[in-house]
């Protein structure tokens, strides 16, 4: 009884209840939602956002934000595609370079925030344009394809009935969760977000922590870029345009406070899942695409409001 009570107090339980209720509701109202094919389709769609949201959660925990993830996704995709298609790179080498590009963009963001003392919103907003512009410059505006089979399998392949990108997502979520919750560095990330001055006084190298989270975020955006390119079989310079909003929404619904100091990977995952289930469910229910956007926005506002009320009450 006591452990049940403790379980109910866990913040993420509320989200879990919402997610499960949604899924049951859809399972009843439509006959296709709770099929294996559909569930894994939804999880696959969620993967691309969830992977990026792991990094975004860390950034938001430090009271920062990163608006450039969509552009990083596109740029990394274009770079690795070009290397594979026109410069004879092996898929592995090309992907590694793409991931390094993600790290680089993250590092640039980190430098602007820590050394130039720019507000993260402004710094990453600028990088959003720079990254997107670079993607267009490098590609000349053209999409790039085709790719070798070993690369395509990373996006389109299945292990049993589990799509490969889902496996990447699960691994990244687990590693991120363990990192944030159970390592010293993870705890320092929370500390920096909770009270950066106190963290400095305690001897935490806050600049280094900030650099780290922005670089992780850039890296994960590049991972998503790699997987989307593999799933679609083509890299486009405009890939990922606008995705940063979905990623931030997933983190926010998941209970990550935009003021910093609070958030969890489990919550973010469920935030991403709720959005993915909503989008899929509305198509199955025959709701117009225009209303879908209204619905998603409503859920975001509702979730954040509830979180605000809860934190004010405690």
């Amino acid at each position: 009884m006591d452990s049940l009570r403790r379980l109910l107090k866990v913040k993420e339980i509320g989200l879990f209840v919402i997610l499960v209720s949604l899924m049951l509701f859809l399972g009843v109202m439509t006959k296709q939602f709770l099929t294996i094919d559909n569930i894994f389709t939804v999880i696959l769609n969620v993967s691309f956002i969830s992977i990026m949201a792991c990094g975004m959660t860390m950034v938001i925990i430090t009271a920062g934000i990163d608006l450039s993830v969509g552009s990083t996704l596109g740029l990394a995709g274009v770079v690795l595609a070009l290397l594979m298609r026109y410069h004879g790179f092996s898929p592995l080498a090309a992907v590694v370079v793409g991931l390094v590009v993600g790290l680089g963009i993250g590092a640039a963001n980190g430098v602007m925030v820590t050394k130039l003392r720019l507000a993260p919103f402004i710094a990453t907003l600028g990088m959003l344009s720079v990254g997107r512009g670079l993607a267009y410059v490098i590609s000349g505006g053209w999409p790039i394809s085709p790719f070798p089979h070993s690369f395509m399998v990373q996006g389109q392949g299945m292990i049993g009935f589990v799509p490969v990108p889902v496996i990447y997502m699960v691994a990244i979520n687990i590693v991120s969760h363990v990192f944030l919750r159970y390592t010293v560095t993870g705890r320092r990330i929370y500390a920096v977000g909770g009270n950066i001055r106190a963290a400095k006084l305690v001897g935490i190298k806050t600049d280094r922590i900030l650099m780290l989270v922005y670089m992780i975020n850039g890296f994960l955006a590049a991972v998503s870029g790699f997987l989307i390119t593999a799933w679609l079989g083509v890299a486009q310079p405009n890939a990922g345009q606008g995705y940063e909003l979905d990623v931030i929404a997933a983190s926010a619904i998941g209970g990550t406070s935009l003021m910093g100091g609070e958030g969890s990977i489990a919550g973010t995952f469920m935030g991403a899942a709720i959005m993915g289930v909503l989008r899929n469910g509305m198509i199955l229910l025959g709701i117009s695409s225009f209303w879908q956007e209204v619905a998603i926005g409503t859920v975001i506002i509702a979730a954040i409001s509830i979180d605000q009320l809860r934190s004010r009450a405690s």
Binding site: L22, L232, L278, L284, L285, V299, I306
Partner: protein
Amino acid sequence: MRFRGLVVLAVAGVMLFSFSVAMAGQLTFLLSPKSLNNPYWFAVENGMNAAAKKLGVKAIFDAPIQADALQQAQKIEAYIVKGVNGIGISPNDPQAIKLVVQKALKKGIPVITFDSDAPASGRYVYIGTNNYNGGYECGKLMAKFIAKYKKNKSTIKLAILTGGLAALNLNQRIKGFKDALAKYVKGKKVVFVADPFPCNDDTAKSVQIMKDVSKRYSDLDGWFMSGGWPLFAPKNTVVSALGGMKRVKNLLVVGFDTLPPELKLVEAGVVKGLVGQRPYDMGYLSIVVLYDMAKVGVKNTLKLLPKVVVNGKTDYIIDSGVDVVTQENVKGFMAKAEKIYAKNR
């Protein structure tokens, strides 16, 4: 806990708002254009609805609101899982759509393309404009205008505005345009000031491009718009972007598509000529073809359709044809166009 309950109820309420009860046994088809925010597609939707009404079937028109290859593929995938009897697609990217087309075909759902093709995806039929021919007509028009308005110039400077650089349909139009110019322009040299400027199907962006290019090349003789995007804007916006009414008088603007705002520009003399597609017919025919495939099977339907041989392989292409509009015939065209492109609510 009370608050959590409210959220679940709110979500359920929003979802029930537009809940449509599935009709048992009624055929349902999906048409997925490139995006929902371009008025060109209203005509496809109107044609689709007219055919659906006549045949007594259900037709869904869905796409990402803004053109995005990934979101289009994901949406179509959701409908494949939901279960539809046929799918028509105008793909943002012919490569990106391959995976979902194959998934649909594997499930026994016939797939066709309209307006823009994905020839290597496995789709059964393409219904649309022969874009090369459409572009060729534009080139012929431009050659005529060059002979009429630029008698004394030996070098003609043109700019090309396009949508997405990779869109197959647009590139075919540009090729047709250039080939026709090469054939029909006599005794003059045609020079393109740059590679085609892409606006990614965004009207606001296209107007900005027109403005910047007009400023940069003050001796520009004309424009070829491979689609209608900047011409959906109000007349004054277009005129100002092109450099003012005085400059527009001698500017040879040839565009694609014949939506009402574009026709008004032809009437006003801002645009000299348009080659229009027939998106209403594309929507209508797409439903008819998908209906036939659902009723009598794909093989029997293909037997009825025009066959072409491309690179030694048989393909099925329905050419929906083009309309050529200049100041001479624009008035007669206007009424029909207003009806076809009306957004029915």
